[in-house]
Amino acid sequence: MGLRELEESLRHLPERLPRPPDEPLRQWARRHQQGGLPVAFINVADKVLDTARACSLWWLQFGLACCAIESMAVGASRYDLDRFGIFHRATPRQADAMLVAGTVTIKMAPVIKRLYDQMSEPRYVIAVGNCAISGGRFYHHAYSVVRGIDRVIPVDIYIPGCPPRPESFIDGLRKLHDLIRKESLADAPARGGEPPEEYFRKRELP
């Protein structure tokens, strides 16, 4: 099947159970955002919980192509990711972040979507390498490549490079830490179910 059929099919995968109703804590936080003692509590809770999530990011051990070799190198001795508490887990249930590293083919895209659906909230996606950002060198003329993983799942951080340097990797993860630290209990619930339309982005230069 072609790219258009793939995109249509991926929008309606019935893999995920309906998202449970919003947690009472978040509802309470949203109601009491204005001022007073609850706001102080919400701020402290935000800081503590966001720091915990950022300092202990477990990523899904899952690699596609050359950028996967680079991500293995980043986890190895010379550029150690365990220094930041970042640790690989084999199962999506226990992983916080999915590093999509490498070229995404049409055959693999439904698998990636299923893995993303199986991850437990709160979850983040990092697109590593130009093939995952936009199809990269395969954007023109390749019949089997999905032009960018953000046509399939919503992406939080893009790390360009072909492949990116390990230091570039770590810099991208630090930007993810900054993103995580800005989240709050009073925000809308983390993304669940189908991604909104704006994530299915068509790639055109002006």
């Binding site: 001795s77 010379r78 550029y79 150690d80 220094r83 130009n130 950002i133 936009s134 199809g135 990269g136 060198r137 954007y139 023109h140 960018g148 953000d150 992406v155 939080d156 951080i157 893009y158 790390i159 360009p160 490079g161 072909c162 990116p164 340097r165 390990p166 230091e167 570039s168 770590i170 810099d171 991208g172 630090r174 930007k175 993103l179 982005r201 790639r203 230069l205 002006p206």
Partner: protein, 183 residues
Amino acid sequence: MRKQDDTTFLALLGLIAEGARSICVGLHITAINFFRPSVCERYPRRDGKPDWQPRPGYRGDFALISDAERPGGLRCIACLQCQNICPDKCIHITPTGKGKERHPKQFLIDAGLCMYCWLCVEVCPVAALTMTPDYETSTDRPEKLIRTLEQLRERGKEYPEPLKVEMARADATSVAPTERRGD
């Protein structure tokens, strides 16, 4: 255990001894490695020492070299050679001006599409485009990865000369071994 269990008792003892010896050799190696200094480059460093700097010729982010005398302030003459040769078609130039005054009005490079092959730098007749050792380029929106004329000009001010790639010499033997770091 082997499929044919016809080992004698003494041979079995020998196997066990051999196994124990190999385990002890392994434990010895691990123990020695525990006390060796780590090879980790602690990027980003917090102890004041400088971070790792790429060697000259590292293909990082793009820059356009400045030239104060030309219109547009850049060496670029908008000849569109880089746009034509790019295998990923990630460069888009809108030229303006006539003759010697030709310069780019808009110069877009998509750093999320490029494969860093260096062909655009090689083919430029005036050495206007270069790749810098900037590697910290991750963003949260892919649109921010499209480099515009202004961003390229800014980065070009830091790197006034194109950085040359050193081709490997024909008599090069091997990469120099990395010394273990003492931290």
